[in-house]
């Protein structure tokens, strides 16, 4: 599990390896990047490098007892802090501060990895400030997060920020191909929907429903344009029945209309996600003008925001679909462009 086995992320890897080599290891790191891009894996590998007991030039050696135990998660000097329930509370940070006072049991460094650092409450984040700035010399704190804007700016300025990039599509395709032994025709599609995250790509590829679900949702989307206003509620019901996070479900909507927008601009464009539906996208792009497309996309985004803020699911969906339907009616009503 050396740095070599982490897919992509050459920049982050080079930085961390160089820090180890030059003996310039800081006390506070912030790993920022989308889910499933290897933040936790890298953090653990880095911790291995810090505590590896072998005498090799390149660390971690991946063979010594320390490295092996870190891999298994049974090393006493590495602590992982995760949200309890929906957030990381101030008590958890106080616990960390208590533990930081004692020296490492056997390793050189005590490493604290705070997973989903954006889930820290404001109190917890502020509580961490002082320790994060000047911890004892044997402590390294690594915060992992998907969005650095959700971390207190005062914490940010104390950390060395390591960004994890969404993985290039090619890398994900290659990874999936190896992993699935090339047995799936939909690898390209998984990669496209993965948003550059290996974790998400795997999750999608391993659940059988994804392809089916996508077909189903796309059918529903297409129905919106042709059905009557009152059938919209049936579509809304069908959507609500899906046992799935609404926001992920709306991503299908978002990507569909985004693809229509792109197709309208340049139908030969390579960046289309629903690349197997080019004809359908093209037809749709002839019905909707740019203005209507932007309106629809804005509506979907607003709906996602509203759902995140715990708005009533049924009502919000109804309103969204009605608004989209309204756009179609406007286009048809004014005998818009074909």
């Amino acid at each position: 599990m050396g740095f070599d086995e982490i897919v992509g992320q050459s920049r982050a890897k080079k930085f961390l390896i160089n820090s180890l080599k030059k003996n310039r290891v800081g006390h506070a790191y912030l790993f920022v990047g989308p889910e499933g891009t290897g933040k936790m894996l890298t953090a653990r590998t880095f911790a291995m490098g810090l505590n590896c007991s072998a005498n090799t030039a390149v660390k971690p050696c991946d063979r010594c007892l320390s490295c092996k135990r870190i891999q298994k998660g049974i090393y006493p000097d590495i602590k992982i802090i995760e949200p309890q329930g929906s957030s990381i509370r101030i008590e958890q940070i106080r616990e960390l501060q208590r533990e930081a006072v004692t020296r490492p049991y056997e390793g050189r460094k005590k490493v604290f990895i705070i997973d989903q650092g954006d889930k820290m409450t404001v109190e917890a984040g502020n509580c961490l400030l002082k320790t994060f700035e000047e911890p004892p010399e044997y402590v390294v704190i690594i915060i992992l997060t998907i969005n650095e804007n959700m971390i207190l700016p005062t914490l940010l300025s104390r950390a060395q920020i390591v960004t994890f990039d969404p993985l290039p599509l090619g890398e994900i395709e290659k990874y999936l191909y190896d992993r699935l032994k090339g047995s799936d025709d939909h690898i390209k599609l998984y990669a496209a929907f993965s948003e550059g995250s290996i974790g998400r790509a795997l999750q999608i590829a391993e659940s059988d429903e994804f392809t089916e679900l996508r077909e189903e949702i796309i059918k529903l989307i297409q129905k919106v344009s042709s059905c009557s206003m009152k059938d919209v509620f049936k579509i809304s019901e069908a959507l609500q029945k899906k046992d799935m996070d609404m926001n992920n479900l709306l991503d299908f909507f978002l990507y569909w209309y985004r693809d229509v927008l792109i197709t309208k601009t340049d139908s030969s464009f390579a960046g289309i996600v629903n690349y197997d539906k080019k004809q359908e996208l093209f037809d749709e792009s002839r019905i909707l003008d740019y203005y209507s497309l932007l309106t629809i996309l804005k509506t979907i985004q607003d709906t996602q925001k509203a759902l995140q803020a715990q708005a009533n699911k049924a009502l919000t969906l109804d309103v969204m679909l009605m608004e989209i339907k309204g756009v179609y009616e406007n286009v048809h009503g004014s005998r818009g462009k074909i």
Partner: protein, 543 residues
């Protein structure tokens, strides 16, 4: 020696080393010189501007064995003890971790004991905004009239979260953001001491990115030093930051100017493919347009844009192609996008939407967008060529023809004279225009010949395409619909020509169309009534 982060290693030790806060350090030094030391200070300002450092220096200045002196020696036992946080009389409280009333009560209980070895007992309460309401209130009396040997220094990044009653009891000092040159000079000094090389552009890029906070700058510098194999160059900084280089930005802006949407989208795809941070990119783009704006309005922008001379020259060149209000519109749109991109789980979608808006002003319904459309119209009218710019096609409708006689009426005729491949375009365009006026045509037809009403309703004729100068009209339903309309072809042509303002021949073709549902006669009357009350648009007929 173990490695410590640059910003800890280079913490200022005397007032003179605090960068960019002369207004504060001078005041503090003079107050010590004149023996006018207050009992409560409040230091506020954004992160990394030197609040806590200044507080520690002040504590040393008060308790130094040589002092009280504006220049603490940093040599004596007490100064060293304060640096290491070991002097009993300088109490640093992390208010974010000890935020309750109990901690403040404890503080109050101990405050009555005079300092054990120093002259002053200094309480540095950092991150003071995190105290609870009760804790603040418990502190009030002590803060107002502490024993004469006590000095409070409160430090915070968010003074607006302190109660008024706390604010009014303190001397307030606002720490300013550092200027880019302040930061660059400091970094240069540090690098020289470490014997490291770096080019000016690299340091400028770091300084720009740190937004006036020294700690941010030093953290980043630290990171770059670790990353770099040899010398620190601008490319390394950009790589660490995940930003794009200037060339790419200039190129991208050129595509926006040329309103070349496919090129813009392809470039975004390239960024996403290479895993660049799109939020950072939007920020860079915004900053570029800000620079364009400055280059456009200012005679001598050198001091206002912290880029190299060549870059400024390039900016000035590029800015010539933009109108000022265009630049403002872009900045407006991008600011909004920046917010969306920041929170979106799919950052590229809001960005792509913004680019559609920027390259196609006719779909932007913000005031700025509309202004641009009006400007374009004015330009059209002034040049009086009667030619519309092609991308503005949706903004003028034939119905409004009498308001814009010069641009509109002549258009169809002119189009017909043109030749070559343009023809196809023109045909499509006239077809679109025809479709827009089509409801009028149908209404006129029904009026002129009521007996045709039934066939029109069931056939729902629609313009389909042009064959030469002939307009093909598709008719659905039974063959009879088509035959009946064909018998009245003269009338149809006349009506179209009148509404459309131009001669057109018509032909009919039978097409597949879902035939409107058959309705019984007495129901028909009822429906007519309903329609006359609510209007055609609102009524939907069902079995």
């Amino acid at each position: 020696m173990t490695y410590i982060a640059l910003y800890r290693e280079w913490r200022p030790k005397v007032f003179e080393e605090v960068v960019g806060q002369q207004h504060i350090t001078t005041t503090l030094k003079n107050s010590i010189k004149n023996n006018r030391i207050a009992h409560a200070y409040l230091f506020c300002g954004i992160r990394g501007t030197g609040k806590t450092s200044t507080a520690k220096i002040f504590a040393k200045a008060l308790n130094c064995e040589e002092g009280p002196t504006p220049t603490p020696c940093n040599e004596c036992r007490k100064c060293k003890a304060i640096d290491n946080g070991r002097l009993m009389d300088v109490i640093e409280i992390d208010a974010a971790s000890n935020r309750g009333i109990d901690e403040i009560r404890e503080l109050r209980d101990k405050i009555k004991y005079p300092p054990s070895e120093g002259r002053y007992k200094v309480y540095i309460i950092d991150e003071v905004h995190m105290l609870t309401k009760e804790a603040f209130n418990a502190l009030l009396k002590t803060l107002e009239e502490p024993p004469q040997y006590v000095v409070f220094i409160l430090a915070t990044t968010e003074p607006h979260r302190l109660p008024e009653t706390i604010l009014s009891r303190c001397q307030r000092y606002d720490f300013k953001r550092l200027t880019t040159s302040d930061i660059i000079n400091k970094m240069r000094e540090i690098l020289d001491k470490h014997g490291l090389k770096a080019d000016d552009q690299a340091l400028a890029a770091i300084a720009r990115n740190s937004q006036g906070a020294m700690r941010d700058a030093l953290s980043l510098l630290d990171q770059c030093i670790s990353y770099a194999d040899t010398e620190l160059t601008k490319d390394i900084v950009l790589e660490i930051l995940g930003t794009v280089n200037e060339e790419f930005l200039f190129d991208f802006v050129e595509s926006i100017r040329a309103k070349d949407l496919p090129a813009c989208l392809a470039k975004i795809d390239e960024l996403a493919y290479n895993g660049k941070d799109l939020h950072q990119f939007v920020n860079d783009l915004l900053y570029h347009f800000r620079n364009l704006m400055v280059a456009r309005v200012s005679q001598n922008p050198t001091g206002l844009i912290d880029l190299s001379e060549e870059s400024i020259e390039a900016l000035r060149n590029q800015s010539r192609y933009f109108k000022l209000e265009e630049i403002l519109r872009v900045i407006d749109t991008l600011s909004e996008t920046e917010r969306d991109v920041k929170w979106a789980s799919h950052p590229r979608i809001p960005l792509e939407m913004a680019l559609v808006k920027l390259t196609k002003p006719e779909v932007d319904d913000s005031i700025m967008g509309i202004v641009e459309r009006i400007n374009r119209l004015e330009r059209c009218l002034k040049s009086n060529k009667g030619q519309r710019e092609p991308s503005a096609q949706t903004s003028i409708r034939p119905q409004k023809a009498d308001t814009f006689p010069s641009t509109e009426n002549s258009l169809p005729k002119q189009n017909k004279k043109e030749t070559g491949q343009n023809d196809v375009n023109i045909k499509r365009k006239t077809l679109e225009e025809l479709q827009q006026i089509w409801p009028q045509v149908i209404a006129r037809l029904k009026q002129e010949k009521p007996s045709l009403k039934a066939f029109i309703q069931s056939g729902n004729p629609q313009p389909v395409e042009f064959k030469g100068k002939q307009l093909v009209i598709g008719v659905g339903g039974m063959e009879l619909n088509k035959t009946m309309l064909e018998r009245n072809i003269g009338l149809v042509e006349k009506v179209i020509s009148e509404v459309y303002n131009g001669d057109l021949k018509a032909a009919f073709r039978l097409i597949k169309q879902p035939a409107p549902k058959k309705v019984k006669k007495d129901e028909q009357e009822l429906i007519q009534q309903v329609i006359s009350v609510f209007g055609e648009n609102l009524v939907e007929i069902e079995e």
